[in-house]
């Protein structure tokens, strides 16, 4: 192995461009799937609380599938399986619009929605039943009690788990490389292939991942502190 020299990579505009593109794609996939996951999670949670057994059974099955099948396999099934079963016009359109990235967002988002919705549900279940009673005793309707009393507390309870899972979602964006999305892990393999600087390129990308993950954790800790009325200093 030649001597350690980061400038071999950072001094090369071509590699830097690859890195930046990788970072951009990682964030497109991570933010896209996070948004999809959170939206779906709220819908799933709504279904859980809907009257009748059908909604609940559907969510149970949804969560069970997405938690018990490896995320990578889910991605492979979407991209190599379901994609090929779609009608031609859809396939053409997707191919014109970065189908890999779209399926990465769909696959990761759907998977993560299962985790987010369960986080929110445990958060809601951790709110003491006395809270609902007190709200009803004051004359709040079910919806009003949910909105002003239960949900603010439930979502706060769910925050630590949501933050943890947001970090793992960010890390899992690296799985998109398996279906050919040109994100950060893809970039590092390319750069390694071209530069033969394995150690340097791995180190660089590892540090990047670590910094971004720590930033998400810090942001999460900040949000959690803001959401905690006692410690936020509003008191």
């Amino acid at each position: 192995m030649s001597n350690f020299d980061l400038s071999e990579i950072l001094g090369n505009p071509e590699y830097v461009a690859m890195l930046l593109l990788g970072i951009k794609m990682t964030f497109v996939v991570a933010i896209g799937s996070w948004t999809l996951a959170m939206t779906l999670a709220l819908l799933l949670l709504g279904l859980r609380y809907a009257p009748g057994p059908v909604g609940n059974a559907f969510v149970t099955a949804y969560v069970s599938y997405h938690r018990n099948v490896p995320t990578l396999v889910q991605l492979l099934l979407w991209y190599f399986g379901i994609f090929t079963l779609m009608p031609d016009p859809v396939t053409f359109w997707l191919n014109d619009h970065n189908a890999e990235a779209i399926f990465a967002v769909i696959g990761l988002g759907l998977c993560q929605a299962a985790y987010f919705s369960e986080d929110l549900r445990s958060g809601m279940r951790a709110v003491s039943p006395g809270q609902m009673e007190a709200a009803r005793a004051l004359g709040h309707s079910y919806v009003s009690a949910m909105r002003f009393v239960m949900v603010p507390q439930g979502s706060r309870n769910a925050l630590p788990a949501l933050i943890n899972h947001s970090v793992s979602l960010f890390k899992n964006s690296s799985l998109a490389v398996a279906i050919g999305v040109a994100e950060l892990t893809y970039a590092v393999k390319e750069i390694e292939n071209l530069s033969f600087r394995t150690f340097e390129s791995y180190l660089l990308v590892t540090v990047l991942y670590l910094v971004f993950s720590l930033m998400i954790m810090a942001l999460g800790a900040y949000v959690a502190r803001r959401a905690d009325p006692v410690r936020s200093g509003r008191a």
Binding site: S64, Y65, H66, R67, N68, V69, P70, T71, L72, V73, Q74, L76, L77, F80, G81, I82, T84, L85, C111, Q112, Y115, E118, D119, S122, A126, P160, A161, N164, H165, V167, S168, L169, K171, N172, S173, S174, L175, V177, A178, T185, V188, K189, T198, F199, Y202, V205, T206, Y209, L210, S213, L214, M217
Partner: protein, 252 residues
Amino acid sequence: MISDIIAIIRDYWLLLLIGQYPNGPLGGLAATLLLSILAIAFAFPVSIALALARLSNSPFLNWPVTALVYFTRGVPLLMLILWGYFLVPLVTGANVPSFLTMLVTLVVYQGAFLSEVVRGGIVALGHGQMEASRALGHSYLGAMRYVILPQALYNVIPSIISVFVATIKDTTLGYVINVPDLTFAASQINNQLLTQPFQVFFILAAVYYVICWSLSRVAIVTERRITRKRAGTASQATAKSLKLAALTDQPS
């Protein structure tokens, strides 16, 4: 569609089960399970050592482990596998089978992960048990060995099963370094058939589902049994175990 799936299973069940063995390395489902079992078996003692180190007052023990934990929490497993593929041969000086590289990486990754679970179990016990043991004259390590760890490890058994499930799912990432596991076998089949990718990956998903779902059920049942057993003694541990569940229950 269904007849395709049955045909694939009929033609390739042996490949899915044990890979090329005995004409090549052990693969398929057998390799996936062997890899997962070995990984958790080695990661378990590692995790206890790491947890004790992180709980110790010595910065020389405490800091490196804290750094390792944050490192594994912040870096994708895929990157760690690439590191393993690069570093393990450098350290051993020999060409190592990818199975072994993957095993080492998983032990480090899940060891760090599991150490947080074990630490959580110890912290959840509270100070009382340690104080009582020290008052009886036990040394710190003696108290850990005979009083704290037996209780803490018992309480975290369900989380350990969850980590085992996560490990099974993690073994799929071995594809980046061509570990001959179940996913690898499925993509081999897909490459041979070419025309039925949905059917092949559907079978793959179904197999993982059955295994992971069954193990998750075991975890849930164990959890209930343990909760019932210690109901009454450790009510303060419940809030902490809620946080623990969020930690172990990770997508991968």
